[in-house]
């Protein structure tokens, strides 16, 4: 048994192809990418995840204090970029984006490891999220386990 959204006309599976449907938006004091830090763990502000009420059941078991991965769509990214100087430092060699955390990449999915600070109905406050105000949220996942963390 699984819990489904009540929309009767919507089909599951792959019929709608590779189109993302945001489940919410980031609410953050960070509005300017250039003013932001280069990595989330270097001082990005706390932020709120505003989830669409339709996905509330998906978020029902999140708990304050736990760490999660937030996936976002970095909608200001340039998807044509395939190689960059890491962190914009031109003294560093041009590097293929699959080896970097550049937001500019063919599919600009942001991956953010954050801690849940508070849960307030459909809003979730998280620590140190490097995503500007209004960034679409795609998914929330448990932190990946690694052998050293088990």
């Amino acid at each position: 048994m699984t819990y489904q959204t009540p929309k009767p006309a919507e089909s599951g599976g792959s019929s709608d192809g590779l189109v993302l449907r945001p489940v919410g938006r980031v609410e953050s004091p960070l509005v300017d990418l250039d003013a932001g830090p280069p990595q989330g763990d270097e001082g990005a502000p706390d932020a709120w995840l505003l989830l669409d009420p339709s996905v509330h059941p998906a978020a029902a078991d999140l708990t304050v204090g736990s760490e999660v991965l937030v996936l976002t769509w970095l909608d200001r990214a340039d998807r044509r970029i395939l190689a960059v100087h890491p962190r914009g430092d031109e003294t560093r060699p041009l590097t293929g984006v699959f080896s970097t955390r550049s937001p500019d990449r063919p599919n600009p999915i942001g991956l953010h490891r954050v801690r849940i600070l508070a849960i307030d109905s459909n809003r979730i406050q998280v620590s140190h999220l490097e995503a500007v105000d209004g960034t679409p949220i795609l998914d929330i996942k448990p932190v990946l386990e690694t052998p050293g963390e088990r």
Copy 2:
């Protein structure tokens, strides 16, 4: 300076909205989801990432032996599902999918931590990838650093 694809008519930024463009496909002996293991680290087979030649520069700095995150589009998922019994075990309570690794979720993006075993032109062999043959590849990223790993 950044390296861009040579397509002159394509615009960057957000003009094309939330449409994913696969950068490649998984080539795997795993063809049946039900026959697969529930988690990648429990015995999923080694697989090849077949990258589109157009994104070759993005992959140019990947190295054999390193660990990476592979993002895929789990195109057999049911996007209407918001809560599941983890691992299909009905003795476990129904749990919101944002607290689980269920492929069934609003945006079924697969996140796989793998080790690169070999690189052969546009093909990259990786360890233990829990994704069926033909799964679209969205992105490859460096492994997220955690405080304990630094």
